[in-house]
Subunit: 309 residues, 2 copies
DNA sequence: AGATCCATGTAGCTACGCTACAACAGCGAT
DNA sequence: ATCGCTGTTGTAGCGTAGCTACATGGATCT
C-alpha cells in the first residue's frame, strides 16, 4: 500500500480547514474531487476517515490519526524539497509571504524588493491575508512565511510546530485632526472626544480599548474602519481621534496631526512565522527573505512622515 | 511541487540496489518504467539524479541527497500505515518474513503457524532468502522481518537504522558417519579425516574453519555443500565429517551420528531484524510474529532428533 | 415550507504511467 | 576488431486514475 502524497494532502487540508469545501478551495479543485479522494483514501486505509456531522463533516478517530501521520509525511516531503533547493548555489525558487495590509506595504514589500535585488532568481510573492487565514495557509503549505502582529496585552500563542522570527516592534501613534488643539500626547486628554477604531474582534480594536482604559476612560467609538488609510481620512475630516501603528503612517493625508504616544502603553510586536521543519534548516530562499525582513534595515525610517522623522 | 511517493520509491530502490534493472525487478516493473520515472523525478527536482557510469549508473550528489530524503518520506508513509494498522483491535495484515533455509524451516515456519493460529486475520509469508539479499529487501520494504545468523567469530554489524530482536543461539553439532569409531565429541580427534563444509565466502564455512583451527588443525575439506540436507547425506555416505547447526538436524538420515561439540566453541546467534521506525512502535502484525519468533517456545525441542532429545 | 449550504454520486474527458519493442552504449570474449 | 551480452534510454500505444461539470440528497436557518 502506498498512500499517495496527493491524497494525504487532501486529508491534511480537510483536517486543517474542517470542511470539504474549504479544502477544495485551498487545493484549487472542486469539492467533488476532494470527496472522491477521501473515499479512495478511506478505502485504502481500511477505516472510515470522515463522517457527516450535520451540514458538514468531522474526522473520525482513524481520520485524525491518519491526518497526523499525513502531516509528518508532508513534512518529510517538504524537507526533501528543501534539501534539493539547498543544493543550488544560488538562492532561487518561490517564497510565498502572507501579511496583513500595513506590514505587507511597509515591511514585506521593501524586504521582497531587497531580496529580489540580491537574488535575481528568487521569486517572492506577497499575499495580503488576515491572521487566522494566513496561519491556516502557512500550515497547509500555501504560504511559506506569514507576518503576524501581536499586541502587548493579547499574546498570540503559536500553536504547534511553527517557528517565530522577530521583525520589529511597531509603536502606536496618536492621530488627531489638525484643527484640534494640540495636546501633549497623553491619552487622558482625549477622554471626551469621538474615536475612530477598528472593527469588532480585531486585535487593533482591542489595543485601542486597552490603551484608553489604562488611561482611565472608555473611548466613545463613533466610526469604525479596518483600513488605516480610511481611518486617516476620517481623522482628516475631523471626525475623531485614533490610535494608528507607525507602519500605517507612511502616507498621511493633509489635515492629520500625528504624535507619538506620551505613554507607550501599546505597541505591537511584528514577527514572521514559518513552519518548523523538525530541526532541519529552512530553504535558502526562505532564509534569504527572513534575513531581509528582520535584517538591520528593519523598518525603513526614511519612509516615515516628516512629523515623526 | 509534490514529489510523488511512487517516484521517491523508485529512487530509493535505485539507490539501494545500484542499478535500474535491479530496482525494476524489485518493483515488479520494466527497467523502462524506472528509467522514465527517474527522468521525470530529476526534472521535478531540478537536478540530474543519476549519471551513467560504464554499463550502469551511479547517483549524483543530488541523487544521494534526494535518496536520503526519500527514505525519510517512505519511513513516514510506513509509519502512517502502521498507525492505521494499530487502530484495528485485531492483529491483521500481511507480514513478509525472509529467512535462510534452516531457520525458515525450524523457526519461522512454526512461529508463523502459531501466529496464524492466534490471529486468524494475520497473513504471514515466508520467503527463503540469503543474507545480503534479504537485508536489501528489508530496507526496501519488500520484507518486513528478516531472520539472520551471526557466528561468534564473525559479528555481522547491522548497518543504519535496523532493529535487532534476539531469537536463540544455535549450537553446532559434530556429524560423522556411524561406521566411524565413536569419539568423545572433541574436534581434535578428527584432524585427519575428510571434511564436508559449505561453499566459499559463507559464514558457515568460516565457522567450521574457525572451530577446527581453534582445535589446532586445518580441516581437509573434500566436499562442499550449502544445503545441510545434502551435507547429511554426504556424511551418511561415509564421505566425511561435518559441523552442522542444531536447527538443521530435524531430519537426520540413517547412518549419521550426531553428537554435541565437546567444546562449544562455535554457535550461531539467530536474530530477527526489522526496520527501525524512528522510535515508533512496530505494526501489531509484526509484533505478533516477533513474539512468536522469540517467545518462550523458542526452538521447538520436540522436533529435535532422538539422539539429541 | 422554501431557500441555502454542503457533501456526494455520475458521465466524460484528459493525462499519466505502464508495457512492449527498438535503439544505443560499454565490457568481455572468441 | 567483431560479436555477443548486459544494461540504460527512447517511442508508440494502451489502460486507468483523477479531474470537471452537473445532478442528487440531507441538514439548517428564516
Amino acid at each position: 500500500m502506498d498512500l499517495d502524497v496527493r491524497r494525504l494532502r487532501v486529508l491534511h487540508e480537510v483536517a486543517l480547514r474542517g470542511s470539504v469545501t474549504a479544502a477544495a478551495a485551498a487545493l484549487h479543485v472542486t469539492p467533488s474531487a476532494v470527496s472522491q479522494q477521501l473515499v479512495q483514501l478511506s478505502r485504502e486505509a481500511g477505516h472510515e476517515l470522515v463522517e457527516r456531522a450535520g451540514r458538514g463533516i468531522v474526522l473520525t478517530p482513524a481520520g485524525q490519526v491518519l491526518a497526523t501521520h499525513a502531516k509528518d509525511v508532508l513534512g518529510a516531503v517538504e524537507q526533501a524539497v528543501a534539501g534539493l533547493a539547498a543544493l543550488h548555489r544560488r538562492v532561487s525558487g518561490t517564497v510565498r509571504v502572507g501579511a496583513f495590509a500595513s506590514a505587507a506595504g511597509a515591511l514585506v514589500a521593501p524586504a521582497a524588493a531587497r531580496a529580489r535585488a540580491k537574488h535575481p532568481e528568487l521569486d517572492v510573492r506577497v499575499i495580503e491575508a488576515e491572521d487566522q487565514q494566513s496561519r491556516l495557509d502557512l500550515r497547509s503549505g500555501t504560504l511559506d512565511v506569514v507576518v503576524l502582529q501581536e499586541y502587548d496585552h493579547v499574546p498570540a500563542p503559536l500553536v504547534d510546530d511553527l517557528d517565530r522570527h522577530p521583525i520589529t516592534t511597531d509603536p502606536m501613534h496618536l492621530v488627531t485632526p489638525v484643527g484640534w488643539r494640540r495636546g501633549t500626547g497623553r491619552l487622558s486628554e482625549l477622554r471626551d472626544v469621538p474615536w475612530i477604531a477598528s472593527a469588532e474582534h480585531t486585535p487593533c480594536l482591542g489595543s485601542t480599548l486597552h490603551a484608553c482604559r489604562l488611561a482611565g476612560f472608555e473611548p466613545d467609538i463613533r466610526h469604525r474602519s479596518v483600513d488605516f488609510a480610511l481611518t486617516l481620512d476620517l481623522v482628516a475630516a475631523g471626525l475623531g481621534a485614533a490610535l494608528v501603528p507607525e507602519l500605517a503612517l507612511r502616507h498621511v493625508p493633509p489635515g492629520v496631526h500625528v504624535q507619538p504616544l506620551a505613554e507607550p502603553v501599546t505597541a505591537r510586536r511584528i514577527f514572521a512565522v514559518t513552519r518548523a521543519l523538525g530541526g532541519a534548516p529552512q530553504r535558502p530562499a526562505v532564509d534569504a527573505l527572513l534575513t531581509e525582513l528582520s535584517g538591520p534595515a528593519g523598518v525603513p525610517r526614511g519612509h516615515l512622515p516628516p512629523v515623526l522623522a
